[in-house]
Amino acid sequence: MRKRLIITSGLLILAATIFAGEKPRPAPRALLPAGTLAVLEVPQPEKILSFLFDPGLVEAITQTDGFKQYKASGDYKQLVQVIRFLEMQLGVDWQTGLKKLLGDGITAAVLPGGAFVLMVDAADGQLLSKLSNTILTFSGNQASQPLASRDCQGTAIWTLKPDSHFAQLGSRLVFSNTSAGVEAMVKAHGQPPEGALVNAPHFQAAQKAAGSGQGATLYVDLQTLKQNPDIQQGLSKSTEPMQALFFAPIREALLQANWLMLSAQGSGRQLTIQARADHPGTAGDASLDFAHPGGSDQGASEGIQVPGLVAGMSLYRDLFKFYSNKDRLFPERTSSLIFFENMMGIFFSGRDLTDAVFAELKPDIQLVVAEQQYDAARGIPNPRLPAFALVFKLRHPDTFALVMEEAWQKAIGLINFTRGQQAQEGLIIDRPIHESIKFTTANFSRAAYAGQKTLPANFNFQPSLAVVKDYMIMSATDQLARDLIDALSKESDDSPRPVLAGQHSRLTLRAAPILALLEANRDNLIRQNMLEKGHDRQQAEKEIGTLLFLLGYFDEASLTMERQAALSTATLNIKVNLP
């Protein structure tokens, strides 16, 4: 009886607070103090909800084995009961209810002291009040003690659990893991803080960089975040050359930046996520110039198109500058680095790797990954792997092509020698002509596999080298080398592939060929799943089936990274296939 009285009086106070006179609510970001670590803002959740409630998508998800499995579980039944209860209490179906309750936006933030705050602005204040009442009644009935509340400037702050507190401010609901977090928002609601985040120059700059009309934004105060030892460790210098080659520009951008702004925008079938960080213009590390396009006409070039393209990566990386600064970029002389340099010394007949090899390459590097076609009559390797190739631009193709050819054939010879020691078949070198280009390719000997339908994985590879105009192709397969020769031969000097000015890295992925490749290797994936997760065959088949099914909803994705005058930007574009 006492409990009911307390709850009823609490509800009365709450109702009185709500309807005492509602004044226009300040924007949630205006309540946040300067020094807020991170802010996630979703101004129009309805757009996201409409996407999620798309009948085609809902039907597709409900058809998955994973969902059917979940539907049969007790958790699902419990969830349905809760939803039905809420629908009854609120007098509205859950989809409409959700849209009305979240309609005016969601804001989540991590405050300076570490408290987490969630603010939900409802489009329907009355519905929100009903929800508050339901939460209080339900929590009160569940709890062994009466629910605790305290007054803060006329607003009741309720404690549902030690780490769960909330208050209602008109049509806004504020949740936090600490009572102080809710209190700070309630006080700011009455009087916005003097040093509010909205007035902070970094936040303003980040907002300006993101522009308006974003579906969601996430602001992160990097200055404060970088004090965290784990993050410091993550940003510390890598000793691995390949990591330094690919990730040094990203690491540098994060090290120098004061803030990071992530924004997401959906349009039709396309979702664009952008990450922007400021680049204060302080003197950067000169050793990283290898990845900074210098002039306005410099940058990674647009990807090469070949049949069955799976992925393409365009990089602006000056390998000469990179290796000249190796002592600063990856100071540790690891055994693999020493081995690499020794081997390069042999392959390039003692030429200096930096001055006589890498200096011959322009900063334009392309990685191309494509599907492979197999001739069933000659046997199919298991597992099937995609073909891949590296394409470099040469400064002096007339002289360096021969140097490279010699090095390539030495490498093939070394592979043959090593495999021979292990009683394994070797590579037979051939020099065919394709489109008037004589190139080098090598096929594994099939003598020991005559008539076999399934071949070992090494039969995925026919290492090939070709030079077309000033391009050098190092391909894992003969077919991809030929496709690249075709593509690059068609390029005319008058209209070369465009250079993406300022971009240092660009990656594109196409889901359909990846899906086809995974389908072709479905059995291997299932077996791997059995070993990696301890599943039986049926469980593994289900899990892989669901994974491939979901992958079918992706069309393609691209990621570009660039640095303009005072801003580093990474843009991820994802295209989805909706039914």
Partner: protein, 443 residues
Amino acid sequence: MIWGGFEHYSQHPEAAWKPFQPKGRHQWDLKKAAHVLRRTAFGASWRTLSEAIEQGLPATIDRLLAGGEDAAQFQKECDGYEKASGGGDNPDALRAWWLYRIIRTSHPLLENLTLFWHNFAGMQQSRIKDAALMADYLRMLRQHALGKVDDLIQALCHHPVFFLQCQALAHRKASPQEGFAGGLLEWLGATNASPADVTALARSFTGWFVHHNRVRFIEREHDDNPKTLFGRTGNWNSREALALILKQPCVAQHVTARLFRWFISDQFEPSPAFLAPLAASFQEDRRIMALIKTMLSSRVFFSRGAYRCQVKSPLAFAMGIIKALEGRVATLALGKALAALGQDLYEPPTAQGWAGGLHWINTASIVGRQRLVHDLLNDEKKMGTPLNPAATAARYGHHDAKAAQTFYRRLALQDDLTRQIPEQESLKAYVIQLFMRPEFQLA
């Protein structure tokens, strides 16, 4: 357990190998059923234990030797998985498939014996560098593990893995490999072999070559002149020579002693007289299955000296937990964890296999075992879905904590605790303590 220790039976070898007959105080009970299943099947679930108690000793041993009805089909499926995993010199996947078999098979004794013969021969993947070939070798061991010893040794000694391990890839008429022959005789325990026997055996193996990891017999390289081996003269080829060696009583004695160490005790060194009755019947019968049956049914197997006297290998330790909790773990990760604990399944450290016994336990390995238990039970999913003691106990009707603790004391240790486990905050914590008790480290 029952009548005395090894000292008693050393005085009465005939009595040692007589079948154990439950009577009086010495009934077929939980302790004895768990003892059999620990030594033969790497441990057991409560259901398996209950079935064994209900069926009695002879039926339990018959079932262990024969395997479940689905065993052959299961082996066929696993063979297919292994073959599809391909070759190369990375044994991770093949090691994981073997563990997958061990966890799920309804014929665990077959896997135990496959491991025994693998340990007996001591073949190492790091030398062979062909995981698919090693898997083929293991399949050959599995095929013969419970059959006739002659078939097994013949197949083993003519498998490419054997020649590769011994680095004897060319047995030319002009230069018979006496080192190989001497090693083979020593390995089989033919202690009565003379230098002339070594030479004769080496000559009998001439003609065998390994090319591209495949065995070939080249007729023209075979020495077809008469050879005298263990006093018998003839134009022996390698198979005939091996048959002569296998007929030597000391070979039967050697194999019997190794099986005794594996199944009964690796702490007690049995005298030839002690093993003589067993070795004699094995010498006559040649069937490994019959020898194992005699051992597992014997009084000495259930004697005080044999009970909880072997230090569990990392594999037996992990399987004891997995089987008790009826779990399905990620075998790729488990294989790596066992290798870190000193038992890389495809890599016995020497030609004599793993040293075993007290060598399994040291300060570092205890910490490693503790980490393994945590990885198996805790929620990080390092080993796939974590094992769930509460769910397993509930399956047998033990819902409250006290009942579940009692259940696990009986399941894992058959109440063989010398000291009580202090109160723990959760059942999981209690079970972890149980698995880390010294008693649980012993089979």
